[in-house]
């Protein structure tokens, strides 16, 4: 079995995008949804078979003679020629991380397709307005995301970075009549666009010195790729450090690293399944994926790597702090996502080059592992949140409380998700988080402690959310509303599947398959780290149980005690206000308006002044045309005399 059919992975979603978008309106809503879901199921199947072939097959060239797992170039099609050397190709590159990402994306995308059949309908099962559009956009997003992970070169990655940005924009703004959704979609797009700008500049610098976009060419000999810019510095740093830092900023935008994280919480204005798919599991890890892709380069450029580390570690703590106080469950989950992605970033940054020391490349593996498990349990949490929101028609946890009795399946699924993210064995999160902590301690105990604290906070805020939704006090059913209940099978089935995966994913021998250098990495549990991290998580859970399991006034007491801190965290440390200030007050008012004014009054004014001068000059000359023959004759005669005189003078002299 060869990889020729892998093109279908991109072709099917893209075709579905066009098909559902153009023909869907004519087809009826239910059918559109079903067709979209089935097509996604086919894609899922193909992705699984590709991954299976890649990891377990042996005859497709993916295992080199030395037993090293290497990448396979399934397709490479010249798309756009820049120069003889710089050619943008579109293709499919299969290697451990892209194969893993194929599984993640197709699984979650399929489950979200399925879940949306119920979620995007009203209580009587009638699909909402724009149902076809929704499925069409989902297909577009899936296409873009799959294209991103199989990118053969950095420019293809950039192209699909843009594409996922746009599809995310379209999906966040799905409810386009709501101002909040428009605003959020705009914000998401512009912030990620700003990051993409840096990405682009980074690509330009990198490709200028290395003369290639290809990952394979770059990875084949990262040292020589970097040494082509040897000695070139810009403002004191080597150009490669600049390039890689810029590329990291691009990834940071998509992955919502501080300070470019502000779009992600707002992006929760989109439909919840979309949040599960894009803003929890797939698109937001694109930045991590990007850094992982270029990992061999980053390892060589420790300056850039340190920036990644600092940003990642800071974001992890920062977002976790905010997540502790949010009242909107989706926002809280969003900050949790930011924190977890920062975890993966940090893991990448603390990783040393594979083969260096005992634990070389551990961070890389751990990061990818966490990416995988996190995608599963975060999608689970979001889909649960979706089910809850669908049931109570609100995002605020004050409208929920005590739902455990009404929605038992959802409640258990959510609990599994919480346990997984908190890192309690044997759930998936424990294993990946444990590897990350080990890698951090390897780097420096400082980072290990730091990340352990974040892990504790994670456990705390996740259980806070859980208790506030499902316990705390009895649920009050408002008059005229149905009592909340578990949803139909299309919505509960994805929850169950994801819950099962979250339970067992940790036992996948990840190190055997997904490593930085293709050689299996044998991990062993680092007991001190594992035990301490579980303890910290248990402390967090215990604290949350104490504060939020039953209704009591402890939280409000604490709130009034640390009022300043609480308010600041609740308002996300005023980052949004800062951005608002910069964009509106500075850029809009102090740059755009003056420029527009300058254009209309100075530049245009100059042109109008010229015109006015011409007009007044002609008015002045107009007086000469008096209509009096005699004055005309006089002018004529004087002119003639002058000419004659001049001629005479010339002739005589």
């Amino acid at each position: 079995m060869s990889f020729d059919f892998s093109i279908l992975v991109l072709a099917i979603p893209f075709f579905m995008f066009l098909f559902l978008g153009l023909v869907g309106v004519k087809m009826g809503k239910k059918i559109t949804g079903v067709v979209g879901t089935i097509a996604m199921g086919v894609t899922l199947f193909i992705c699984y078979s590709i991954a299976f072939t890649y990891f377990f097959g042996t005859d497709q060239g993916q295992i080199s003679a030395e037993g090293v797992r290497q990448s396979v170039l399934a397709y490479d099609w010249n798309w756009l020629t820049f120069t003889d050397k710089l050619v943008v190709k579109l293709g499919i590159l299969l290697d451990p991380i892209s194969a893993m990402m194929l599984i993640v994306i197709s699984t979650i995308s399929f489950l979200v397709h399925l879940f949306s059949l119920g979620y995007m309908s009203d209580e009587y099962g009638k699909p909402e307005k724009g149902f076809q559009r929704y499925y069409s956009f989902l297909a577009l997003f899936t296409f873009s995301m799959l294209g991103l992970v199989v990118a053969t070169n950095i420019f293809q990655m950039f192209i699909f970075f843009e594409m996922v940005g746009v599809s995310s924009y379209l999906l966040i703004g799905f409810y386009y009549t709501s101002p909040a959704a428009i605003h959020a979609s705009k914000k998401a797009f512009i912030v990620t666009r700003l990051a993409d700008l840096f990405f682009l500049v980074g690509i330009m610098i990198l490709s200028y010195y290395t003369d290639t976009f290809d990952f394979n060419a770059l990875m084949a000999s990262p040292e020589s790729a970097l040494s082509s810019a040897h000695g070139q510095t810009f403002m004191g740093c080597s150009v490669m450090a600049w390039a890689l830092t810029f590329i990291f900023i691009g990834g940071a935008g998509k992955s919502a690293m501080y300070p470019l994280h502000i779009w992600l919480p707002d992006a929760m204005e989109g439909p919840t399944p979309v949040s599960a798919l894009i803003h929890a599991a797939t698109m937001v890890v694109a930045g991590v994926f990007l850094v992982a892709r270029l990992f061999p380069l980053y390892v060589l450029e420790q300056g850039s790597m340190n920036i990644v580390l600092v940003v990642g570690a800071f974001t992890a703590l920062y977002a976790a702090a905010i997540a502790c106080v949010q009242s909107d469950i989706k926002r809280a989950l969003a900050f949790s996502t930011i924190s977890q992605i920062a975890y993966m970033m940090t893991a990448l940054a603390v990783s040393s080059a594979p083969g260096v020391g005992e634990e070389g490349g551990l961070g890389y593996m751990a990061s990818m592992f966490h990416l995988f498990t996190h995608a599963m349990f975060k999608a689970l949490l979001f889909l649960c949140a979706g089910a809850i929101i669908h049931a109570v028609h609100s995002n605020e946890n004050s409208h929920m409380h005590g739902l455990h009795k009404f929605m038992p399946i959802t409640s258990i699924a959510f609990l599994i998700g919480c346990l997984a993210i908190a890192g309690i064995p044997p759930f998936a999160g424990f294993f990946s988080k444990d590897e990350i902590l080990v890698a951090c301690y390897e780097k420096s105990p400082l980072w290990g402690v730091w990340m352990a604290i974040v892990a504790g906070m994670t456990a705390f805020y996740m259980f806070r959310i859980y208790y506030l939704i499902f316990h705390w006090k009895k649920h009050e059913v408002k008059e005229g509303h149905h009592a909340p209940h578990d949803m139909q099978w299309t919505m509960t089935l994805p929850l169950i599947i994801l819950a099962v995966i979250s339970c067992v994913a940790g036992f996948i021998p990840f190190g055997k398959y997904v490593t930085a250098d293709g050689q299996a990495l044998h991990t062993h549990t680092n007991w001190p780290v594992a035990i301490s991290s579980v303890c910290i998580a248990l402390v967090g859970i215990g604290l949350a149980t104490k504060m939020y399991f039953k209704e009591n006034d402890l939280p409000s007491k604490l709130k009034s005690k640390f009022n300043g801190l609480w308010t600041a965290a609740y308002n996300r440390f005023y980052m949004d206000e800062l951005y608002q200030f910069i964009t509106h007050k500075v850029i809009f008012q102090k740059v755009c308006k003056p420029i527009a004014w300058f254009d209309r009054h100075v530049i245009d004014g100059t042109m109008n002044l010229l015109a006015d001068m011409t007009t007044s000059a002609s008015f002045a000359i107009r007086k000469m045309q008096s209509g009096s023959i005699q004055s005309y004759v006089l002018y004529y005669f004087l002119g003639a005399i002058m000419l004659a005189a001049v001629t005479m003078v010339i002739v005589l002299i």
Partner: protein, 171 residues
């Protein structure tokens, strides 16, 4: 100048031309102005005669003095009440006119005297064209034949007649 008589005639004609032209443009009464014009034209005819262009002199007298001046007189009669003076000239305009006239005259005189040749050139003995020769030249199509301008002039005159009739016709 071959003879004193000629010289005297020339002097009289020249003085008449100068004097009457000045009078023609300065007099207050328009009818007098026309009369002075008549005298100027007659004096011009004298000069033509003196240069042996008898035919031209005759035409000058017949067409100009006889035709055009009469036309002027009629026009004046039609448009002026008798005895009414022209209004005095505004002084700046007068000086403007004088200036322009003198400037023009000065330039021309400059040109004239710088060549100096014509100031006192001898009148060559004319070959004495007779009227027959003029007539045949006028209707000749050879070199120095003037049939084409002659015809053009006749068409022009015709056009003038028609134009004059159309313009002056009472609507």
């Amino acid at each position: 100048m071959d003879s004193v008589g000629n010289l005297i005639i020339y002097a009289i004609a020249a003085i008449a031309i100068i004097a009457f032209s000045i009078l023609a443009v300065t007099t207050k009464k328009i009818l007098r102005s026309a009369t002075y014009l008549l005298f100027t034209l007659l004096a011009t005819a004298v000069i033509y005669f003196q240069m042996d262009y008898e035919f031209l002199g005759a035409v000058q007298i017949a067409v100009y003095a006889g035709g055009i001046v009469v036309l002027f007189v009629f026009a004046i009669m039609l448009t002026h009440k008798p005895g009414k003076d022209a209004e005095p000239l505004s002084s700046h305009k007068k000086w403007l006119g004088v200036g322009a006239a003198f400037a023009g005259a000065a330039v021309c005189a400059g040109a004239l005297f710088s060549y100096g040749k014509f100031c006192c050139a001898k009148l060559l003995p004319g070959s004495g064209f007779d009227i027959k020769e003029i007539g045949s030249a006028l209707l000749d199509t050879d070199k120095f034949g003037y049939l084409l301008p002659f015809e053009a002039i006749s068409i022009l005159l015709l056009a003038c007649i028609i134009g004059g009739v159309v313009i002056a016709r009472r609507r």
